[in-house]
Structure formats: C-alpha cells, structure tokens
Symmetry: D2
Subunit: 262 residues, 4 copies
C-alpha cells in the first residue's frame, strides 16, 4: 500500500499503566492521522550496557501486557526475540516478530522466527553493508515465509556514532519487501547511558526522519513514552508521546510526494 | 527565499559549443520549472588523479567562455579557484567564487575570496565534521563578506566511498547561510577513473537527492552535460542534461513540503 | 606472563581427521617455538551468510572432537557459544568459552558464560568502541568470574571492510585482562563468500599481525587449516598450517621488544 | 638504508631562540641514538581553524631561520609549501619539500615541487585511500623526480577522529619509496583547538608509534617543542623534546626486528 504506516510504543515494557497510556495516545494519533499502526515494545532488553539496568519484565509478563494492548486497542503488536526458545511464545501473541540488529545474522534465530509464519522484522545491523540484508532475508525465505520487513536504524560511523545512509533505503527496497525507518534508535550515542540526556541527539530527529522518508520508506518506527526522561530504557532517544502527532504530519506529506514519484 | 535554486553546468569547461549547448538546455529547464539558476563550470581541475587527464582550458579561456554564457543567457556564473592569484580575475567575471572541498581550510584562499565581495560557495570537505564548516565561514566573515553559501558533497566513509549524512545539512543550516546539495559529486567512487562508468554510482542519484532536499536545503548542485559518457571530467557522475527536468520535478515538490514545515 | 601465547585451530570443526592433523601440526609448532597454545574450533557457525553453508557438526559431535584433541595433545581447548543453553555443555569440555563478536553485548549469554567459572574470551564487536569492551567485561565480573580475555578482530570501516585500530589494544589493555589479536578474521571481506579467495585479504596478514603485536598484546589468534582453500568456512582467511611457524617467528621477537618496553 | 630516520622539529616556526633550542636537543638525541635526522618546521600554517591563530612568520623569515638551523647544526631541513609560488624559494633552502595532506591531490603544487629536483614528502591525505597515494607519486615522477617520500598521518574515521590503519603502510611501501609515520599529527582531535590539551590524545602516542614502526616504516615524523603547552600551534599533540629520546628507543629496537623479517 502507498500509505505510510507506523510502528510505535515504549522501548521496553514497563508497568502496565504506562503501556496502556502510551497505547491510548498512539491510538488517538493513529486515528487522527489515519496512519495504520503496529504497537511495539520489548519484553527483554538483552544488550544493555550493564547488568544493573532494567532488562524488562520477562517474556510471560511482557506478552501478557502486549496481548492486553492488542485486545483493548485493536493494534497488531510487535516484539523482539533474542533466543530461539522465545520465538514460539512470542508468535502466539505477536503479529510481528522482530530480530534485533546485532542478532540479524544469527541463522538459528532467523530460521526459528521465519517458521512461525508471522511477519518478521529484520533490523539492519550497525555492522552490515545494506546490500547484505539480502542474506537474512534469504534465511527467512528459506522457511517459506515471505512476510518480511526491513528496518534501518543507523550504521557504525567511527566510534559511538551512528550514521543514516540514504543508500541503505535504496538497497533494502531492492529486496522487494517493505522498508521501515527506526529514527529514534538512529540518534543514540553509544558509550553514554541512555538515562543521560546526552545519550540521544534529539536535535537530529526531524532532519533524519525527513531524509529517511524522502529516501523511500513504507513505514516509520518511533519509540514513544509518556515521559521519556523517566523511561526505563532509551530515555534519551524516545519521543515524548505528546509530540508524536506533530512529528508525523510533515512526514506523511513528504511520503505522499515520494510515493507519487517512485 | 523559499524557492529551491539550482547550480548546474558541465564539471569542467570544455569546448565552447558544448558549454553553450548545455547553457541553452539549462536555461530551458530553468524557465520551464521556474527555478532560479546559476551556471557552473571549472576553468581548472587541479586535483585530477593523473597529469595526463584534461585539466581545463585555463583561466583566461575559461573565464571568456563563462562571460559569454553569462551575456548570452543571463545566468549568474560560478567557478572554483585553487590559488589566491586566480581569485581576482575570477571575481571580475563570476558572481559566485567557489572554494573546492579539499581546499576549504586554506586560509589564504578563503580570505582572498572573501575580499572580492562576491558570493563565496564553500564546499564541505570530505574530511571535515559538518559543524566545523563554521570555521571557513568565519574566515570569509572576517573579510566583512557575509555573502556565503555552503555545499554538501559527501564525507569520507571507509576507503573510496562517500556518504551523505543528513545531519550535515542540519549543521550547515545552523550557520544561517543558504545550504546546497551537490548530488552528482556525492556519487563519485574514488579510485576508479571518472571516465569509467563504474566511477559513479548513478543508481543512487534519485534517492540521495530526495534525502538531501527533505533534510532542508536551499539549492541543488547538479553537474550536467550533453553527453556525459564523452565528458572530459566526471563522465561517470554527471547527469545527462536531457534528464535534468525530470530529475528536478520531484525535488521541487519535496522542497515545497520541507519549507512548509521548516 | 610475558610470553606470547597462541590460540589456533580451524575455524569450524570439520571431520575428525582434519582436526587431529591440524592439532598435530599446531602442537609441533607450539613446542618448537615454545609458545603456550590453546586449540580453537567452533562446533557451530550461527552467522554464516546462507543457510546452505556448512554450520558445523553441532554441539555433541563438536565437543566430542574437541575433547579428543584435548586428551591426545594436551591442549587447553576453546569454543564459542551462541545461546545460553549451549554454555554448560561447552564448559564441561572446554577451558575457554568464547563469546562471538556480534553477541558480545547479549547479557544472558555473557552471564551464563561467566557462571561456568571457565575463562571467558570476549571478542571485540565490529560495532563497539573499544573502551566500551569494559561493559561486557563487567557483566562477566558480576558473576564473580575474573578469568577474562579480550580479543580484537577488526572494526566496521565503511561497508564490507574491517580496520584494525592500534588504539583498540590500548583500551582493551586498560581493563587489566589479557588482550589477544585475532588476525585472520581481521582480513575478512564481508559481502564476498569466504569460499571465494577474494573473501580474505591475505596480503595484509603480516603487516597487521606485526602492528597488533607491537601495540601490546598477550596472545595471538590465528585460524589455521591443512588446506585453507578446501576449508568449510573462512577458506579465504585461514592460514595454511604449513606457514604457521614462519608467521609466528617475527611476532615472537616483536613481542619480546614490546614487553621489554611496556 | 635499514636505519630508522627521524623528521623532527616544532610544528610551526616560532621565535628563533625556540627553534635553535629545539634543534640543539634534537641534535643531541640524534647523535646519542645514532639516528639520521631531518629538521622540520613550517613557515606558514595555512589551514588553521581561525584567522586569529598564529600562521607562522611567513616565507622569508621562516626560511632564514631554517637556513640558520641547517648551517649551525648540519641538519637537512624540511618545510611544507601551500601555493606554487612558494616552491622555488623553499627549495633554495630546504632539502625536502613537503606537500600537506589536504593539498596532496593538487596537481600544480605537486608538479612545481617535483620540478625543484628536491626530495618531495607527500603527506597521506585524511580522505585518500592509501593505495591512491600512487596518484600524487606519479605526478612527482612525471617531472623526472624520483626522490619521493610518503608519510602516514591518520585517516578520517567518523567525525573529528583519525585512525591509523596498518594497511596504509603496506600500500605506501608498495610504491617502492621510503615510508614515514607522522605520529604526532595522528593523535589530533579535530574540532578542539590544538591549544586545548584535549585537542590531542597523547595517551595513544606510544601504542600508535609502535604499531606503525612494526607495520614497516623507514622514518618517523615527531613534532617536538621545548614546552608544548606554550607552542603556537599543535600544543596538544607535540611531544616535549625532553621525552624524545625515551620515546624513540623502543621504536628503534622494534624497527630492527621488523627490518630483519621484512
């Protein structure tokens, strides 16, 4: 479809009330802007910098909350998986299984995810040339599953910096599958905890999002939170949910022009 | 102004008939699309990979031709300078003096260019963090000249590859001066002669141009030639002038949306 | 200790005769050069570019062979793990548990590995600033295990290229744990299958190894094979085992000078 | 020759007494360590970040001081040139004409330098793939001059950071000309004024120098000053001349091992 779609939600699953509050706001924006939306959150963050940081509620509690969001708001839901033994349970609740960027080359995880028959969202690894995203794509296809999404989220550029290369969208589109731009993770500054406001370069959000949309994407991935500064993960990079609507408006218009000239 | 403007012309000054033919076509497109245009060409290419490659006609013959284009077609004209002793002569004919990317940190050249009082176009060096473009800007300002333009053309990304970082447009806009995107140089593949079709990655032209325009620019820089494969420099990256109009159309529309939401 | 040590063996566990043949040769070199040696091979390669490529014999058969090498040749043995449920079995046989570079930020895997009490070798991820290797180090330490090794293997430099930054050795040494240089993986050219000779830049092996050793390392990691061109993984980058001795000699001498001036 | 040689001196020519004091110390170290030495300093720094920073004494006064150093201490002397009209005068005094890194692709400057018949030291540009240093080399050769040196000084790695790639030494050696490692410029942090101690990462000096020497070089380039913190340029990166001797000792030993196994 030519319509821009949205993947949004808090980075990690926090307490239920926060998750429902965010879902409610996203629902409102989604209907107001008429933008199809998938609700996203992680039951586990397995690559945090410290064992002392919040890792999420775990798979059981996490999936319970995602299911509740799905039932109450009617969103399709997305979560990421880290180990093959999590895949089946995640697929019982979720409409989209996501492979985290660092794990996108892990064959066992990809194949297990593909076999669920659910849509699989492959995050573009920070270390992988964009044209090589065809490799994990083929692993999913090998399971007979062609319900695949690809998501850009920045590439390693020197140390502790990510760069968003417009050519990456070009290459991912070449696979023929929908391409998504995860703009909030693209502004993370590694080496600075995400609880520190300097851990995210929010001043770039608008510019990056516009560049990505005009490059040619089908969907946007924007982590949102009722109060980012208190978020339990990626506090520095999530968008305040109150800004979501205004953030999306110009992007929807740019997308319309881009699609017209595709 | 909110209108997108264009800098266009062949990379290097070739024989007069080719220069006039290109000017005629650019004039036609410029009027058809109602896009203000500056005619660009170099009298000297001082950084070619080999002494055996064409370096241009030299300053006297080059400026003679630029003056003729200016007179016959009414374009403002732009050329680049390489050594301080070329600046005064260039400024007698040209409306814009351009400092090449590799030379943008050369103080003497910058100051001499600023002193002409003409507009100075600073190309963003492939080795300079975009926020550091404030340094050559200040050198021009030190001469009392605030007629400054900044042009992105890709940053060193590994070896023999250039990357266009949307954040670069953000930083250059912070200077307060007009920002331009030189899209045809951004697709050059160093290490491959520009006479070899593999010396330019034309497949990226559309994607990069759209990303750049949506990032927020005021002007576009597109080298064009009547027959790029026979061009005496940058054959692999120049746009065929017959494609210029179609190339610009979506960019003008994207620019309108971007300006609306600026 | 001030002595340079060696980690060596074929990339992936192939048929038993090849593994024993390689062990025999490594044993010979190790004794001749008086260089303490750990035998290395993978029972599983979980990040190959295609599901059609050889992934290894699996954990049971793989560990059986490693145990045989250990018994027959008296080497300590090392293997890598990919999922937490593999860790315990690997630790029953192996002296060193290795976390692959892409997985070095996965908390669950790191903690499970640390808990075995075995030495844990952390590969430096291609996307991680070297000073951030302190993060996975702390995860291992959180289990009470301070038997940690760190291994450099190149950082993402543009697309499909790895760069070996001498500063990486500096930062990893700052952790206080032994630092190793995996030189054969540092010459891999991603995007080219390792079965293709162009998939590895062997011309750089000597230069890189010497630079790494002089930068200050405690050990070298060199994948070797009786016939690299027929190896089932990383054919393009493994060293022919017949060249191992000559390869190591200058490195041992450079190491002696480096240690003297440490 | 198999002996390591040294290029050393203050970054920019300051007042005469400082230049003589540095020369005296370098002479002492050079004789003590028996290391052939070229005295280096710049009469002009044309790429400083601000017009307000010290640019040097100019060509006449600068060359007068270099000539005095040459006469009094018997050193060959080296200076860099920025514009073709400086070359002839520089060549009258200097034994080595140096092309700055940013200017290494400027044909007119290279050809003018080659034509002097003096040795020409080509700095490896921060934006040029090392194998492409063959291009400026060929420009010098085109003048009949084969007295060429190549000097590594770090490559653009993300923004405001330089990386020293051991493979660069490999490629520059392939030209057949002597290769030098400029270690003090390799630790500059662009975007931070060199008057700020954070403008140079001195903690890396030893590691980088050792890596470079073991990679295979013929000479070292080390900027020294009697009191770096008061130096008029590159205060953050120059080595205190009192540390020069100890800095060189391990490098000479590493070089001996490297040459033995070349």
């Amino acid at each position: 479809a030519d319509e821009l779609f949205l993947i949004s939600g808090p980075c990690v699953i926090e307490e239920e009330s926060i998750m429902m509050k965010t879902a409610e706001k996203i629902k409102e924006v989604s209907e107001k802007l008429n933008i199809p939306t998938i609700y996203k959150s992680s039951f586990m963050k397995d690559n945090r910098s410290s064992v002392d940081y919040y890792m999420g509620p775990g798979i059981d509690e996490g999936l319970r909350i995602l299911e509740k969001v799905k039932t109450e708001f009617g969103f399709p839901v997305l979560t990421d998986v880290h180990y093959p033994d999590q895949v089946e349970a995640a697929a019982e609740v979720c409409d989209v299984i996501q492979i985290p960027a660092y794990l996108v080359m892990q064959t066992t995880l990809a194949v297990a995810s593909g076999k669920t028959g659910k849509a699989v969202n492959l995050k573009h690894a920070q270390f992988l040339a964009p044209e090589n995203m065809s490799k994990p794509v083929a692993k999913i296809e090998s399971t007979g599953n062609e319900n695949i999404l690809l998501t850009e989220r920045g590439y390693a550029f020197g140390y502790n910096d990510l760069i968003v290369d417009p050519r990456s969208f070009y290459h991912m589109r070449e696979t023929g599958y929908p391409v998504i731009f995860d703009v909030t993770h693209s502004i993370r500054k590694y080496g600075i905890p995400s609880a520190d406001p300097n851990g995210g370069a929010k001043q770039y959000l608008k510019t990056l999002a516009r560049a990505g949309v005009a490059s040619g994407v089908d969907g946007l991935f924007v982590e949102t939170h009722p109060c980012p500064s208190e978020a339990l993960c990626d506090a520095a990079s999530q968008l305040d949910m109150s800004e979501l609507e205004e953030f999306l408006k110009p992007l929807i218009e740019l997308h319309e022009v881009e699609v017209k000239w595709r």
